[in-house]
Symmetry: C2
DNA sequence: AAATTTTGTTAGAGTTATCTAACTTTATAT
DNA sequence: ATATAAAGTTAGATAACTCTAACAAAATTT
């Protein structure tokens, strides 16, 4: 049976492959905060599972089977997060750590039941898509808030990175998924934006924040 | 952090200590289906945690701290089982395997939330008591059905052993917790009992079954 | 009391997952 | 083109958890 350690490497590889197609040992090493020799050894395990194509000194390529296996772990992670929020009353900033553990549980029925009880949600509490049982994943196309212009009205549909600190910042400003922003102005100096949204007639968001908010035009 | 392997040894030790007070390496070895040298090594780890008193060639004694640590794992196991049955619609025969994994998750808030959502249940789906947050456990006193006599009316409050096969047998006879039996007769030859209960005017239960049903007089 | 069986320990080894140190290969800069 | 830096690999070690084989101690039987 695949250990949670191996599953975490696969997940990290999947994440990096979504950003770059080809992935370096070094990237995986810093993503997972383990040494390069450790990654080097683990890559051989991933290869034995048919999840990665590996040739000495060449960048790693995730295979289709690897992509699917990773998506099925993400499915468990995201169903868990959604279940914790929707059915158990946790805040969106509390669920990632728990899901990081629960995603390794080998009990398909548990996750299918969560799925059913929530009536087959399409996204997790942070707006990330939930892969289906075959590992298919529908990525809604969205743009960063920072790429939009003054006067546009956009709705928050997902987050780019979702650290606890960032989520708590959003909570403090009453920003949640589906919040509709109107862009009032963009500061040339630091690319910060002034936006308005329900109950907040004027709020300034730093560029860092605007890059992490994925929105679609309304 | 304590690994799930170590936690499983502690649980097994707790279980055996409840039956015998003193526990042998051999007993643990067969309970967990690992070799005796493996147990011998692990006992030294348990000792380092202060969970067991160990002297070469002497039987093991669970310490008070060990008892408490074990009870807290059992708490997570049983809350999980109850949650799966009460809130997620699983059958009582499906939940043990899942709980065996979930009990190792390090997220106190998850289990406290389950507890709260179920309004602090006292027993799991098999009638076993759920320890409180301090590891205190209230064992309801009950007798085996086999120890009762003709004419008595008793209610099923817990199960002695709860293998999937046994639970499925009970399902097939519509026997569940709180079922009230009236003992119609006891067969001297094989100690089987004929009982009646709701919708079952006459059902024969083997001695093996009667020994696994924990009941109290009504 | 001696023999036998059961129980427990030690020794030695394998697997997984990790590290550091040293080296090699590839990429980048001068 | 050469030097330097970055990336990748190999070697060797450690910790956790497991095994089998061999031996020692304790308990049981004869
Ligand atoms: Mn997450
Ligand atoms: Mn994880
Ligand atoms: Mn159980
Ligand atoms: Mn377990």
């Amino acid at each position: 049976m695949v250990s949670s350690t191996v599953e975490n490497y696969l997940k990290a590889l999947y994440k990096l492959a979504n950003e770059n197609a080809e992935v370096n040992i070094s990237e995986l090493s810093s993503e997972l905060e383990v040494s390069k020799p450790t990654v080097n050894a683990m890559v051989k395990t991933l290869q034995q599972h048919g999840w990665v194509i590996y040739t000495k000194y060449k960048p790693l390529k995730l295979t289709e089977e690897g992509r699917k296996a990773a998506a099925l772990i993400l499915r468990k992670h995201r169903l868990t997060e959604m279940f914790l929020v929707e059915k158990m009353g946790f805040g969106w900033e509390e669920v990632h750590e728990i899901a990081e553990q629960v995603e390794h549980i080998k009990a398909p029925a548990l996750f299918d039941r969560m799925d059913e009880l929530m009536d087959y949600p399409k996204v997790d509490p942070h707006g990330s898509p939930i892969p289906d049982k075959d590992g298919n994943i529908i990525q809604k196309d969205s743009k960063k808030l920072s790429e939009h212009e003054v006067g546009e009205k956009v709705m928050l549909i997902a987050l780019n990175h979702s650290s606890k600190e960032f989520l708590e910042f959003l909570d403090s400003r009453d920003i949640s998924l589906n919040t509709v922003f109107e862009i009032k102005s963009v500061e040339n100096f630091d690319d910060s934006m002034v936006v308005s949204y329900e109950k907040h007639p004027s709020e300034t968001l730093s560029q860092k924040v605007c890059e992490r908010l994925l929105v679609e035009k309304v």
